[in-house]
């Protein structure tokens, strides 16, 4: 019966992540919200979110929180992402393709 990779690996990851957290000033985290309604998904929101996750992994960005939400209400502008920097107003980006993520 194949089960999850070793949970000990995960404990090690947790300790490493905690160490990194302590090094940083508590400057808050950037939140990225991707619209995942039916329209968003059909327009490619999953691929956009994948590009964001890939970038977090490849550039080792540990202070970003990625969230998904339902239909935002601007169907013709999907895929839509909203970026909230700590202490700043929400910025909405429309028709976000994976290329746009990779090139920034």
């Amino acid at each position: 019966m194949p089960t999850i990779k070793s949970l000990d690996d995960l404990k090690r990851i947790r300790e490493e992540a905690l160490k990194k957290q302590q090094l940083k000033e508590t400057s808050g985290k950037t939140e990225v919200v991707v619209g995942m309604g039916t329209v968003g998904i059909a327009a490619g929101a999953r691929e956009t979110l994948k590009a964001i996750l890939d970038m977090i992994e490849s550039d080792n960005l540990s202070d970003i929180i990625v969230r998904q939400t339902g239909n935002i209400g601007l169907d013709s502008f999907e895929p839509i992402i909203q970026v909230i920097l700590p202490g700043e107003d929400k910025v909405t980006y429309v028709k976000v393709t994976p290329d746009m993520i990779q090139n920034n």
Partner: protein, 195 residues
């Protein structure tokens, strides 16, 4: 939608909107019987009989009462287009279960697609939900439960790069291990279909 994995993502979004905190996704590939079966089950607020009839019919749902859009009719027609079946059961305050089966070898059956990316999107994007994922191919079954992972992590977010990688490889290896008996489609290459 180009992949069944995208349909799964879409139906699971309905479960999140229904305030479910436990969602189970099952994918079973039964090659000898030529059946692909998908189940999405939640413990959300559920629907009464009248609402249930509305969500299946794409023409009845009106914008003001709209809770679920075209997602369910899309999924239903995808199943019925390839000699499959579609069922939805729901009970108020108990939850909803969506079940679809497809004739595996049917020419109109969509590829399963990138199920790992769908699960990652759900797990990372909605961390408040307990996600269960089961994948069966032949006699082997891979079961993934994100609860133990969250317990160990505590306040470390799931979108931490190392955690992301851990969850991704866990899912990929789990599926690969189960796929030994029957070589089916490659689930990790995104499907591109030119329409």
């Amino acid at each position: 939608m180009r992949e069944l994995a995208l349909h799964i993502l879409d139906i699971a979004e309905n479960s999140i909107s229904a305030n479910a905190d436990k969602i189970r996704i099952v994918v079973e590939e039964d090659i000898p019987k030529d059946v692909l079966r998908i189940v999405i089950e939640d413990n959300g607020k559920g629907m009464d009989q009248a609402t249930l009839e509305k969500v299946i019919d794409p023409f009845v749902t009106s914008r003001t009462t709209r809770k679920v859009g075209l997602g369910i009719p899309f999924f239903k027609s995808a199943a019925e287009a390839c000699e499959g079946t579609f069922n939805i059961h729901s009970q108020v305050e108990v939850g909803t279960k969506v079940e679809a089966s497809f004739k595996y070898s049917h020419i109109d059956r969509m590829p399963l697609g990138n199920i790992v990316e769908t699960m990652l999107t759900l797990i990372i994007g909605s961390p408040e939900v307990n996600w269960l994922f089961e994948y069966q191919n032949g006699k082997e079954r891979f079961i993934f439960d994100d609860e133990p992972i969250k317990q160990i992590l505590g306040d470390i977010p799931l979108s931490d790069p190392m955690v992301l990688k851990f969850i991704r490889t866990t899912l990929e290896e789990g599926i690969r291990n189960v796929q030994k008996e029957y070589q089916t489609e490659n689930l990790f290459v995104p499907t591109r279909v030119n329409l």
